[in-house]
Amino acid sequence: MSGLAADLRVIAALGRRAVNQAFRRPQFLAPIVVFPTLFLAVNTGGAGRAIDLPSFPHVHGFLDFQLAGSMVQSTMLAGVSAGISLALDIEIGFIDRLIAAPVRRSVIVLGRLVATMVLGALSALWFLTVGLIFGAHIQGGVPGFLLVVLLVALCAAAFGSVGAALALKSGKASVVQGIFPLVFVVLFLSSAYFPRDLLLQPAETIAQWNPMSFIAEGIREPIAFGMDTGHTLKALLGIGIVGAIGAALSSWALRARLRSG
Protein backbone atom coordinates (compact mmCIF):
# COMPACT_ATOMS: atom_id res chain seq x y z
CA MET A 1 0.00 0.00 0.00
CA SER A 2 1.39 3.41 -0.97
CA GLY A 3 2.10 6.03 1.68
CA LEU A 4 -0.83 8.19 0.62
CA ALA A 5 -3.28 5.27 0.53
CA ALA A 6 -2.09 4.16 3.97
CA ASP A 7 -2.51 7.70 5.31
CA LEU A 8 -6.02 7.95 3.84
CA ARG A 9 -6.96 4.62 5.40
CA VAL A 10 -5.78 5.80 8.83
CA ILE A 11 -7.55 9.16 8.40
CA ALA A 12 -10.78 7.31 7.53
CA ALA A 13 -10.41 5.00 10.54
CA LEU A 14 -9.75 7.89 12.92
CA GLY A 15 -12.57 9.90 11.35
CA ARG A 16 -14.99 6.99 11.81
CA ARG A 17 -13.94 6.70 15.43
CA ALA A 18 -14.49 10.43 16.02
CA VAL A 19 -17.96 10.39 14.41
CA ASN A 20 -18.94 7.38 16.53
CA GLN A 21 -17.59 9.23 19.57
CA ALA A 22 -19.87 12.20 18.85
CA PHE A 23 -22.94 9.98 18.52
CA ARG A 24 -22.03 8.01 21.65
CA ARG A 25 -21.51 11.15 23.71
CA PRO A 26 -24.75 13.11 23.32
CA GLN A 27 -23.37 16.09 25.20
CA PHE A 28 -21.03 16.66 22.24
CA LEU A 29 -23.75 16.38 19.64
CA ALA A 30 -26.19 18.64 21.49
CA PRO A 31 -24.25 21.89 20.92
CA ILE A 32 -24.03 21.13 17.21
CA VAL A 33 -27.75 20.51 16.73
CA VAL A 34 -29.88 21.43 19.74
CA PHE A 35 -28.52 24.88 20.66
CA PRO A 36 -28.50 26.30 17.12
CA THR A 37 -31.94 24.82 16.46
CA LEU A 38 -33.37 26.42 19.58
CA PHE A 39 -31.65 29.68 18.69
CA LEU A 40 -33.15 29.47 15.20
CA ALA A 41 -36.62 28.82 16.59
CA VAL A 42 -36.42 31.68 19.11
CA ASN A 43 -34.90 34.13 16.64
CA THR A 44 -37.28 33.33 13.83
CA GLY A 45 -40.32 33.33 16.07
CA GLY A 46 -39.38 36.46 17.98
CA ALA A 47 -37.81 38.66 15.35
CA GLY A 48 -39.57 37.47 12.21
CA ARG A 49 -40.84 40.96 11.42
CA ALA A 50 -37.27 42.18 11.05
CA ILE A 51 -37.61 41.56 7.33
CA ASP A 52 -39.96 44.57 7.19
CA LEU A 53 -37.20 46.90 8.35
CA PRO A 54 -35.86 49.35 5.81
CA SER A 55 -32.54 48.14 4.35
CA PHE A 56 -33.39 44.50 5.12
CA PRO A 57 -32.73 42.55 1.93
CA HIS A 58 -35.75 41.17 0.11
CA VAL A 59 -36.14 37.55 1.20
CA HIS A 60 -38.96 35.03 1.16
CA GLY A 61 -38.98 34.85 4.96
CA PHE A 62 -36.83 35.49 8.04
CA LEU A 63 -36.25 31.73 8.38
CA ASP A 64 -34.56 31.69 4.93
CA PHE A 65 -32.25 34.46 6.16
CA GLN A 66 -31.55 32.91 9.57
CA LEU A 67 -30.69 29.39 8.41
CA ALA A 68 -27.16 30.40 7.39
CA GLY A 69 -26.45 31.94 10.81
CA SER A 70 -27.62 28.80 12.58
CA MET A 71 -25.47 26.62 10.37
CA VAL A 72 -22.37 28.75 10.97
CA GLN A 73 -23.12 28.66 14.70
CA SER A 74 -23.45 24.89 14.49
CA THR A 75 -20.11 24.52 12.67
CA MET A 76 -18.33 26.74 15.19
CA LEU A 77 -19.69 24.64 18.03
CA ALA A 78 -18.71 21.51 16.09
CA GLY A 79 -15.17 22.94 16.03
CA VAL A 80 -15.28 23.46 19.80
CA SER A 81 -16.58 19.89 20.26
CA ALA A 82 -13.79 18.54 18.06
CA GLY A 83 -11.26 20.40 20.19
CA ILE A 84 -12.79 19.08 23.43
CA SER A 85 -12.71 15.51 22.09
CA LEU A 86 -9.07 15.83 21.08
CA ALA A 87 -8.21 17.35 24.45
CA LEU A 88 -9.93 14.42 26.17
CA ASP A 89 -7.81 12.06 24.06
CA ILE A 90 -4.76 13.88 25.40
CA GLU A 91 -6.05 13.84 28.98
CA ILE A 92 -6.74 10.08 28.99
CA GLY A 93 -3.50 9.32 27.13
CA PHE A 94 -5.24 7.91 24.05
CA ILE A 95 -3.20 10.24 21.86
CA ASP A 96 -0.04 8.42 23.00
CA ARG A 97 -1.45 5.26 21.40
CA LEU A 98 -1.73 7.19 18.12
CA ILE A 99 1.67 8.86 18.43
CA ALA A 100 3.36 5.53 19.25
CA ALA A 101 2.01 4.08 16.00
CA PRO A 102 3.98 4.31 12.74
CA VAL A 103 1.71 6.97 11.21
CA ARG A 104 2.33 10.55 10.15
CA ARG A 105 1.51 12.95 13.01
CA SER A 106 -0.65 15.14 10.80
CA VAL A 107 -3.10 12.29 10.09
CA ILE A 108 -4.03 12.24 13.77
CA VAL A 109 -5.40 15.78 13.44
CA LEU A 110 -6.74 15.21 9.91
CA GLY A 111 -8.80 12.22 11.11
CA ARG A 112 -10.46 14.48 13.66
CA LEU A 113 -11.10 17.18 11.03
CA VAL A 114 -12.65 14.71 8.58
CA ALA A 115 -15.06 13.69 11.32
CA THR A 116 -15.89 17.34 12.02
CA MET A 117 -16.52 17.80 8.30
CA VAL A 118 -18.94 14.85 8.30
CA LEU A 119 -20.73 16.27 11.35
CA GLY A 120 -20.87 19.65 9.59
CA ALA A 121 -22.49 18.05 6.53
CA LEU A 122 -25.01 16.25 8.74
CA SER A 123 -25.73 19.53 10.52
CA ALA A 124 -26.36 21.23 7.16
CA LEU A 125 -28.76 18.45 6.16
CA TRP A 126 -30.56 18.83 9.48
CA PHE A 127 -31.01 22.61 9.18
CA LEU A 128 -32.00 22.51 5.53
CA THR A 129 -34.56 19.81 6.29
CA VAL A 130 -35.94 21.74 9.27
CA GLY A 131 -36.00 24.88 7.13
CA LEU A 132 -37.89 23.19 4.32
CA ILE A 133 -40.38 21.66 6.74
CA PHE A 134 -41.10 25.07 8.27
CA GLY A 135 -41.53 26.85 4.98
CA ALA A 136 -38.10 28.01 3.85
CA HIS A 137 -37.32 28.11 0.16
CA ILE A 138 -33.97 27.22 -1.33
CA GLN A 139 -33.66 29.62 -4.22
CA GLY A 140 -30.61 27.85 -5.63
CA GLY A 141 -32.53 24.59 -6.02
CA VAL A 142 -30.70 21.27 -5.78
CA PRO A 143 -27.31 22.73 -6.77
CA GLY A 144 -27.80 25.40 -4.09
CA PHE A 145 -28.72 22.72 -1.55
CA LEU A 146 -25.56 20.74 -2.35
CA LEU A 147 -23.41 23.89 -2.31
CA VAL A 148 -24.68 24.77 1.17
CA VAL A 149 -23.89 21.28 2.45
CA LEU A 150 -20.38 21.51 0.96
CA LEU A 151 -19.67 24.98 2.38
CA VAL A 152 -20.96 24.04 5.85
CA ALA A 153 -18.87 20.86 5.85
CA LEU A 154 -15.71 22.77 4.89
CA CYS A 155 -16.52 25.45 7.43
CA ALA A 156 -16.82 22.84 10.19
CA ALA A 157 -13.42 21.41 9.28
CA ALA A 158 -11.90 24.91 9.38
CA PHE A 159 -13.31 25.60 12.84
CA GLY A 160 -12.28 22.09 13.85
CA SER A 161 -8.68 23.01 13.09
CA VAL A 162 -8.93 25.97 15.47
CA GLY A 163 -10.42 23.70 18.15
CA ALA A 164 -7.64 21.17 17.51
CA ALA A 165 -4.99 23.86 17.89
CA LEU A 166 -6.41 24.89 21.27
CA ALA A 167 -6.59 21.26 22.37
CA LEU A 168 -3.03 20.49 21.30
CA LYS A 169 -1.70 23.61 22.94
CA SER A 170 -3.56 23.33 26.24
CA GLY A 171 -4.13 19.56 26.47
CA LYS A 172 -7.15 20.35 28.61
CA ALA A 173 -10.81 19.94 27.65
CA SER A 174 -11.83 22.63 30.14
CA VAL A 175 -9.68 25.22 28.36
CA VAL A 176 -11.20 24.40 24.96
CA GLN A 177 -14.66 24.52 26.49
CA GLY A 178 -13.83 27.98 27.77
CA ILE A 179 -14.01 29.46 24.27
CA PHE A 180 -17.68 28.49 24.00
CA PRO A 181 -18.96 32.04 24.77
CA LEU A 182 -16.51 33.49 22.27
CA VAL A 183 -18.43 31.72 19.51
CA PHE A 184 -21.43 33.96 20.16
CA VAL A 185 -19.35 37.14 20.35
CA VAL A 186 -17.72 36.39 17.00
CA LEU A 187 -21.06 35.51 15.43
CA PHE A 188 -22.86 38.62 16.71
CA LEU A 189 -20.07 40.74 15.31
CA SER A 190 -20.77 39.37 11.83
CA SER A 191 -23.68 39.35 9.42
CA ALA A 192 -24.64 35.81 10.46
CA TYR A 193 -27.92 36.92 12.08
CA PHE A 194 -28.58 40.40 10.74
CA PRO A 195 -27.65 42.25 7.57
CA ARG A 196 -24.52 44.36 7.90
CA ASP A 197 -26.47 47.52 7.02
CA LEU A 198 -28.61 47.13 10.13
CA LEU A 199 -25.68 46.84 12.53
CA LEU A 200 -24.51 49.83 14.56
CA GLN A 201 -20.91 51.03 14.55
CA PRO A 202 -18.35 49.66 15.36
CA ALA A 203 -20.12 46.30 14.86
CA GLU A 204 -20.81 47.15 11.21
CA THR A 205 -17.12 47.77 10.46
CA ILE A 206 -16.04 44.66 12.35
CA ALA A 207 -18.67 42.61 10.52
CA GLN A 208 -17.38 43.94 7.22
CA TRP A 209 -13.98 42.32 7.85
CA ASN A 210 -15.11 39.38 9.94
CA PRO A 211 -14.54 36.14 7.95
CA MET A 212 -17.74 34.83 9.56
CA SER A 213 -19.65 37.40 7.51
CA PHE A 214 -18.14 36.07 4.28
CA ILE A 215 -18.96 32.52 5.30
CA ALA A 216 -22.52 33.25 6.47
CA GLU A 217 -23.31 35.33 3.38
CA GLY A 218 -21.86 32.63 1.11
CA ILE A 219 -24.05 30.00 2.75
CA ARG A 220 -27.09 32.31 2.79
CA GLU A 221 -26.91 33.23 -0.88
CA PRO A 222 -28.00 29.86 -2.39
CA ILE A 223 -30.83 29.64 0.18
CA ALA A 224 -32.26 33.15 0.19
CA PHE A 225 -31.22 34.65 -3.13
CA GLY A 226 -29.92 32.01 -5.56
CA MET A 227 -26.52 30.94 -6.84
CA ASP A 228 -23.83 33.61 -6.89
CA THR A 229 -20.19 32.83 -7.67
CA GLY A 230 -18.89 35.97 -5.97
CA HIS A 231 -20.46 35.14 -2.61
CA THR A 232 -19.38 31.50 -2.91
CA LEU A 233 -15.78 32.55 -3.52
CA LYS A 234 -15.93 34.97 -0.59
CA ALA A 235 -17.24 32.16 1.61
CA LEU A 236 -14.42 29.92 0.48
CA LEU A 237 -11.99 32.76 1.22
CA GLY A 238 -13.42 33.11 4.75
CA ILE A 239 -13.21 29.37 5.30
CA GLY A 240 -9.67 29.42 3.89
CA ILE A 241 -8.62 32.19 6.31
CA VAL A 242 -10.03 30.36 9.34
CA GLY A 243 -8.65 27.03 8.11
CA ALA A 244 -5.19 28.45 7.39
CA ILE A 245 -4.99 30.04 10.85
CA GLY A 246 -6.24 26.81 12.44
CA ALA A 247 -3.86 24.61 10.43
CA ALA A 248 -0.86 26.80 11.20
CA LEU A 249 -1.66 26.93 14.91
CA SER A 250 -2.39 23.18 15.02
CA SER A 251 0.86 22.36 13.32
CA TRP A 252 2.80 24.59 15.72
CA ALA A 253 0.98 23.22 18.77
CA LEU A 254 1.45 19.61 17.63
CA ARG A 255 5.18 20.13 17.13
CA ALA A 256 5.45 21.76 20.54
CA ARG A 257 3.52 18.90 22.16
CA LEU A 258 5.69 16.26 20.51
CA ARG A 259 8.82 18.12 21.64
CA SER A 260 7.69 18.39 25.24
CA GLY A 261 6.17 14.87 25.33
Binding site: M1, A6, R9, V10, A13, L14, R17, N20, Q21, R24, R25, D89, I92, G93, F94, D96, R97, L98, I99, A100, A101, P102, V103, L258, R259, G261
Partner: protein
Protein backbone atom coordinates in the same frame (compact mmCIF):
# COMPACT_ATOMS: atom_id res chain seq x y z
CA UNK B 1 20.11 8.68 27.86
CA UNK B 2 19.06 11.80 29.67
CA UNK B 3 15.84 13.80 29.89
CA UNK B 4 15.60 17.25 31.37
CA UNK B 5 12.22 18.99 31.63
CA UNK B 6 13.63 22.30 32.82
CA UNK B 7 16.77 23.68 34.43
CA UNK B 8 15.61 22.30 37.77
CA UNK B 9 13.94 19.06 36.73
CA UNK B 10 16.17 16.24 35.55
CA UNK B 11 13.88 13.21 35.29
CA UNK B 12 16.40 10.80 33.79
CA UNK B 13 19.93 11.66 34.80
CA UNK B 14 21.94 9.52 32.42
CA UNK B 15 20.90 5.91 32.06
CA UNK B 16 23.04 3.23 30.41
CA UNK B 17 21.43 -0.09 29.73
CA UNK B 18 21.36 -2.91 27.24
CA UNK B 19 18.55 -5.43 26.91
CA UNK B 20 19.23 -8.65 25.05
CA UNK B 21 16.88 -10.06 22.45
CA UNK B 22 14.22 -12.39 23.94
CA UNK B 23 14.93 -11.10 27.43
CA UNK B 24 12.44 -9.83 30.01
CA UNK B 25 13.97 -6.74 31.55
CA UNK B 26 12.24 -5.07 34.50
CA UNK B 27 12.79 -1.50 35.54
CA UNK B 28 12.07 -1.41 39.25
CA UNK B 29 11.67 1.82 41.13
CA UNK B 30 9.29 4.01 43.13
CA UNK B 31 6.94 6.60 41.66
CA UNK B 32 8.86 9.50 40.17
CA UNK B 33 12.07 7.48 39.76
CA UNK B 34 12.18 8.05 36.00
CA UNK B 35 10.72 4.74 34.80
CA UNK B 36 7.92 6.15 32.67
CA UNK B 37 10.09 8.94 31.29
CA UNK B 38 12.61 6.32 30.15
CA UNK B 39 9.89 4.24 28.49
CA UNK B 40 8.45 7.31 26.79
CA UNK B 41 11.87 8.09 25.34
CA UNK B 42 12.44 4.51 24.19
CA UNK B 43 9.01 4.40 22.56
CA UNK B 44 9.63 7.74 20.77
CA UNK B 45 6.88 9.56 22.68
CA UNK B 46 9.46 11.86 24.20
CA UNK B 47 12.76 13.12 22.80
CA UNK B 48 15.80 12.58 24.98
CA UNK B 49 17.61 15.82 25.83
CA UNK B 50 20.91 13.98 25.94
CA UNK B 51 22.52 10.71 24.90
CA UNK B 52 21.24 8.19 22.39
CA UNK B 53 19.27 4.96 22.28
CA UNK B 54 18.53 2.21 19.79
CA UNK B 55 15.52 -0.06 19.94
CA UNK B 56 15.42 -3.15 17.72
CA UNK B 57 18.33 -1.63 15.80
CA UNK B 58 16.64 1.73 15.19
CA UNK B 59 17.78 5.06 16.58
CA UNK B 60 14.95 6.56 18.65
CA UNK B 61 15.75 10.09 17.42
CA UNK B 62 16.96 9.54 13.85
CA UNK B 63 14.59 6.71 12.93
CA UNK B 64 11.52 6.92 15.16
CA UNK B 65 9.29 5.31 12.50
CA UNK B 66 11.55 2.26 12.45
CA UNK B 67 11.25 2.02 16.22
CA UNK B 68 7.45 2.38 16.10
CA UNK B 69 7.13 -0.40 13.54
CA UNK B 70 9.16 -2.77 15.72
CA UNK B 71 7.59 -2.12 19.11
CA UNK B 72 4.33 -2.67 20.92
CA UNK B 73 3.44 -0.32 23.76
CA UNK B 74 1.02 -0.72 26.65
CA UNK B 75 1.28 2.45 28.66
CA UNK B 76 0.50 3.16 32.28
CA UNK B 77 -3.21 3.38 33.18
CA UNK B 78 -4.26 1.63 29.93
CA UNK B 79 -4.96 4.62 27.69
CA UNK B 80 -8.18 3.36 26.16
CA UNK B 81 -11.18 5.21 24.76
CA UNK B 82 -14.11 4.25 27.01
CA UNK B 83 -16.57 4.89 24.17
CA UNK B 84 -15.01 2.34 21.80
CA UNK B 85 -15.76 -1.35 21.94
CA UNK B 86 -12.90 -3.76 22.48
CA UNK B 87 -13.18 -5.01 18.92
CA UNK B 88 -13.18 -1.46 17.48
CA UNK B 89 -10.02 -0.66 19.38
CA UNK B 90 -8.26 -3.76 18.06
CA UNK B 91 -9.29 -2.97 14.48
CA UNK B 92 -8.18 0.66 14.83
CA UNK B 93 -4.85 -0.50 16.20
CA UNK B 94 -4.37 -2.89 13.26
CA UNK B 95 -5.15 -0.05 10.84
CA UNK B 96 -2.67 2.23 12.61
CA UNK B 97 -0.03 -0.43 12.04
CA UNK B 98 -0.91 -0.79 8.37
CA UNK B 99 -2.33 -4.30 8.44
CA UNK B 100 -4.66 -5.17 5.56
CA UNK B 101 -8.32 -5.28 6.68
CA UNK B 102 -8.77 -9.05 6.53
CA UNK B 103 -5.49 -9.65 8.34
CA UNK B 104 -6.42 -7.03 10.95
CA UNK B 105 -9.74 -8.77 11.62
CA UNK B 106 -8.06 -12.19 11.85
CA UNK B 107 -5.36 -11.06 14.26
CA UNK B 108 -7.76 -8.96 16.34
CA UNK B 109 -10.11 -11.90 16.86
CA UNK B 110 -7.22 -14.24 17.65
CA UNK B 111 -5.77 -11.84 20.22
CA UNK B 112 -9.15 -11.11 21.80
CA UNK B 113 -9.57 -14.85 22.19
CA UNK B 114 -6.07 -15.21 23.60
CA UNK B 115 -6.67 -12.64 26.35
CA UNK B 116 -10.15 -13.98 27.05
CA UNK B 117 -12.12 -11.00 25.79
CA UNK B 118 -14.02 -12.47 22.83
CA UNK B 119 -17.34 -12.41 24.66
CA UNK B 120 -16.83 -8.83 25.84
CA UNK B 121 -15.44 -7.57 22.52
CA UNK B 122 -18.73 -5.96 21.48
CA UNK B 123 -19.00 -4.02 24.74
CA UNK B 124 -17.68 -0.51 25.24
CA UNK B 125 -14.34 -0.34 27.04
CA UNK B 126 -15.92 1.93 29.66
CA UNK B 127 -17.81 -1.11 30.98
CA UNK B 128 -14.62 -3.21 31.40
CA UNK B 129 -12.97 -3.97 34.73
CA UNK B 130 -9.39 -2.85 35.37
CA UNK B 131 -8.06 -6.31 34.53
CA UNK B 132 -10.02 -6.50 31.28
CA UNK B 133 -8.74 -3.09 30.24
CA UNK B 134 -5.14 -4.15 30.86
CA UNK B 135 -5.64 -7.36 28.89
CA UNK B 136 -7.20 -5.42 26.03
CA UNK B 137 -4.34 -2.93 26.11
CA UNK B 138 -1.87 -5.81 25.98
CA UNK B 139 -3.72 -7.42 23.07
CA UNK B 140 -3.75 -4.10 21.19
CA UNK B 141 0.00 -3.76 21.67
CA UNK B 142 0.49 -7.17 20.06
CA UNK B 143 -1.66 -6.79 16.96
CA UNK B 144 1.30 -6.17 14.64
CA UNK B 145 3.45 -8.88 16.26
CA UNK B 146 6.13 -6.52 17.64
CA UNK B 147 9.69 -7.68 18.30
CA UNK B 148 9.92 -5.61 21.46
CA UNK B 149 7.08 -5.05 23.90
CA UNK B 150 7.08 -2.14 26.34
CA UNK B 151 4.81 -2.50 29.36
CA UNK B 152 4.64 0.49 31.67
CA UNK B 153 3.45 -0.69 35.08
CA UNK B 154 1.20 -3.35 33.52
CA UNK B 155 -0.38 -4.53 36.75
CA UNK B 156 -0.57 -1.40 38.90
CA UNK B 157 -3.91 -1.33 40.68
CA UNK B 158 -4.93 -4.83 39.60
CA UNK B 159 -6.22 -7.57 41.87
CA UNK B 160 -3.99 -10.64 42.37
CA UNK B 161 -5.94 -12.79 39.91
CA UNK B 162 -5.74 -10.21 37.10
CA UNK B 163 -2.06 -9.68 37.91
CA UNK B 164 -1.36 -13.38 37.56
CA UNK B 165 -3.20 -13.45 34.21
CA UNK B 166 -1.02 -10.62 32.87
CA UNK B 167 2.15 -12.30 34.14
CA UNK B 168 1.17 -15.57 32.49
CA UNK B 169 0.62 -13.80 29.18
CA UNK B 170 3.92 -11.91 29.42
CA UNK B 171 5.79 -15.18 30.04
CA UNK B 172 3.96 -16.78 27.14
CA UNK B 173 4.91 -13.91 24.82
CA UNK B 174 8.50 -14.10 25.92
CA UNK B 175 8.53 -17.85 25.29
CA UNK B 176 7.38 -17.06 21.76
CA UNK B 177 10.40 -14.79 21.26
CA UNK B 178 9.19 -11.30 22.19
CA UNK B 179 11.64 -9.11 24.06
CA UNK B 180 9.85 -7.47 26.99
CA UNK B 181 10.82 -4.25 28.72
CA UNK B 182 8.56 -3.57 31.67
CA UNK B 183 8.48 -1.05 34.45
CA UNK B 184 7.10 -1.86 37.83
CA UNK B 185 7.04 -0.71 41.41
CA UNK B 186 6.14 -4.22 42.59
CA UNK B 187 9.07 -6.28 43.87
CA UNK B 188 7.25 -9.53 43.31
CA UNK B 189 6.54 -8.65 39.70
CA UNK B 190 10.19 -8.00 38.96
CA UNK B 191 11.24 -11.06 40.94
CA UNK B 192 8.76 -13.38 39.23
CA UNK B 193 8.93 -12.15 35.67
CA UNK B 194 12.28 -10.63 34.89
CA UNK B 195 15.42 -12.27 33.60
CA UNK B 196 17.22 -9.10 34.65
CA UNK B 197 16.23 -6.18 36.84
CA UNK B 198 17.40 -2.60 36.69
CA UNK B 199 16.81 -0.69 39.92
CA UNK B 200 16.13 2.93 39.12
CA UNK B 201 16.01 5.72 41.63
CA UNK B 202 16.08 9.48 41.12
CA UNK B 203 16.73 9.08 37.42
CA UNK B 204 19.74 6.77 37.73
CA UNK B 205 20.23 3.03 37.65
CA UNK B 206 21.41 2.02 41.10
CA UNK B 207 21.90 -1.69 40.40
CA UNK B 208 21.38 -4.14 37.60
CA UNK B 209 21.45 -7.92 37.33
CA UNK B 210 19.37 -11.05 37.69
CA UNK B 211 17.11 -11.01 40.76
CA UNK B 212 19.21 -13.80 42.27
CA UNK B 213 22.55 -12.06 41.69
CA UNK B 214 21.23 -8.78 43.11
CA UNK B 215 19.98 -10.48 46.24
CA UNK B 216 23.21 -12.45 46.59
CA UNK B 217 25.16 -9.21 46.28
CA UNK B 218 23.76 -7.82 49.52
CA UNK B 219 24.48 -10.95 51.52
CA UNK B 220 22.37 -13.08 53.81
CA UNK B 221 19.16 -12.85 55.75
CA UNK B 222 18.00 -10.13 58.10
CA UNK B 223 15.99 -10.05 61.28
CA UNK B 224 12.89 -7.90 61.72
CA UNK B 225 11.88 -7.09 65.29
CA UNK B 226 9.12 -5.11 66.91
CA UNK B 227 10.08 -3.97 70.39
CA UNK B 228 7.63 -2.93 73.10
CA UNK B 229 7.05 0.82 73.28
CA UNK B 230 9.92 2.90 74.62
CA UNK B 231 12.64 0.35 73.97
CA UNK B 232 13.53 1.07 70.36
CA UNK B 233 16.57 3.25 71.07
CA UNK B 234 18.13 0.76 73.49
CA UNK B 235 17.25 -2.15 71.15
CA UNK B 236 19.06 -0.45 68.28
CA UNK B 237 22.23 -0.28 70.40
CA UNK B 238 21.96 -3.98 71.26
CA UNK B 239 21.22 -5.09 67.70
CA UNK B 240 24.05 -3.03 66.24
CA UNK B 241 26.50 -5.27 68.11
CA UNK B 242 25.47 -8.22 65.93
CA UNK B 243 25.23 -6.73 62.46
CA UNK B 244 24.56 -3.66 60.33
CA UNK B 245 21.27 -1.94 61.06
CA UNK B 246 18.88 -1.42 58.18
CA UNK B 247 16.41 1.47 57.80
CA UNK B 248 13.33 1.03 59.97
CA UNK B 249 9.94 0.45 58.41
CA UNK B 250 6.69 1.19 60.23
CA UNK B 251 8.40 0.91 63.61
CA UNK B 252 10.04 -2.42 62.81
CA UNK B 253 13.76 -2.59 63.57
CA UNK B 254 15.93 -4.53 61.15
CA UNK B 255 19.42 -5.89 61.32
CA UNK B 256 21.47 -7.82 58.76
CA UNK B 257 22.59 -11.24 59.99
CA UNK B 258 26.16 -11.93 58.91
CA UNK B 259 25.86 -15.59 59.95
CA UNK B 260 22.24 -16.17 58.96
CA UNK B 261 19.75 -17.94 61.25
CA UNK B 262 22.41 -18.79 63.85
CA UNK B 263 22.55 -15.09 64.83
CA UNK B 264 18.90 -15.02 65.92
CA UNK B 265 19.20 -16.69 69.32
CA UNK B 266 22.13 -14.50 70.56
CA UNK B 267 20.26 -11.33 69.53
CA UNK B 268 17.08 -12.40 71.32
CA UNK B 269 19.08 -13.34 74.41
CA UNK B 270 20.89 -9.99 74.37
CA UNK B 271 17.61 -8.11 74.09
CA UNK B 272 16.18 -10.14 76.94
CA UNK B 273 19.26 -9.43 79.07
CA UNK B 274 18.77 -5.73 78.38
CA UNK B 275 15.21 -6.01 79.68
CA UNK B 276 13.61 -5.35 76.31
CA UNK B 277 10.35 -7.12 75.40
CA UNK B 278 10.18 -8.45 71.85
CA UNK B 279 6.63 -8.18 70.49
CA UNK B 280 7.30 -9.91 67.17
CA UNK B 281 10.23 -11.40 65.32
CA UNK B 282 10.77 -12.48 61.71
CA UNK B 283 13.75 -13.99 59.97
CA UNK B 284 13.65 -12.65 56.42
CA UNK B 285 15.59 -13.80 53.39
CA UNK B 286 16.84 -11.01 51.11
CA UNK B 287 14.30 -9.47 48.75
CA UNK B 288 14.66 -6.93 46.01
CA UNK B 289 13.47 -4.38 48.55
CA UNK B 290 16.58 -5.17 50.58
CA UNK B 291 18.61 -4.64 47.43
CA UNK B 292 16.82 -1.34 46.93
CA UNK B 293 17.56 -0.32 50.51
CA UNK B 294 21.18 -1.35 50.22
CA UNK B 295 21.62 0.63 47.02
CA UNK B 296 19.55 3.72 47.77
CA UNK B 297 19.17 3.88 51.53
CA UNK B 298 15.39 3.85 51.21
CA UNK B 299 12.62 1.28 51.04
CA UNK B 300 10.73 0.66 47.84
CA UNK B 301 7.74 -1.25 49.18
CA UNK B 302 4.99 0.94 50.53
CA UNK B 303 7.11 3.88 49.46
CA UNK B 304 8.19 4.36 53.05
CA UNK B 305 10.79 6.97 52.38
CA UNK B 306 12.81 6.50 55.55
CA UNK B 307 16.42 7.46 55.18
CA UNK B 308 18.84 4.90 56.55
CA UNK B 309 20.84 6.27 59.46
CA UNK B 310 24.18 7.28 58.12
CA UNK B 311 23.41 6.04 54.63
CA UNK B 312 23.77 8.49 51.79
CA UNK B 313 22.18 7.84 48.40
CA UNK B 314 24.77 6.61 45.95
CA UNK B 315 23.49 8.67 43.05
CA UNK B 316 23.95 12.41 42.61
CA UNK B 317 20.85 14.14 43.92
CA UNK B 318 18.53 15.09 41.10
CA UNK B 319 15.02 16.45 41.05
CA UNK B 320 12.24 14.06 40.23
CA UNK B 321 9.97 14.88 37.36
CA UNK B 322 6.27 15.17 37.89
CA UNK B 323 5.45 13.60 34.50
CA UNK B 324 7.37 10.41 35.28
Amino acid sequence: MERRFSDEVLAVAGIDLEVAEREIYAFLGPNGAGKTTTVRMLTTLLRPTGGSAWVAGHDVVADPSGVRRAIGVALQEAALDPLMTGRELMLLQSTLHGLPSAEGVRRSEALLDRVGLTEAAHRRVGTYSGGMRRRLDLAAALVHEPRVLFLDEPTTGLDPVSRQAIWKEVRHLNDEGTTVFLTTQYLEEADQLADRVGIIDRGCISAEGTPESLKAEIGGSHLELRIAEGGAERAREVMARFGELMPERDGILMVLLPHGASDVAPIVRALDDAGLAVESLDLVKPTLDDVFVAKTGRHLEGEAQHEAPGTAPQEPPVEQAAPA
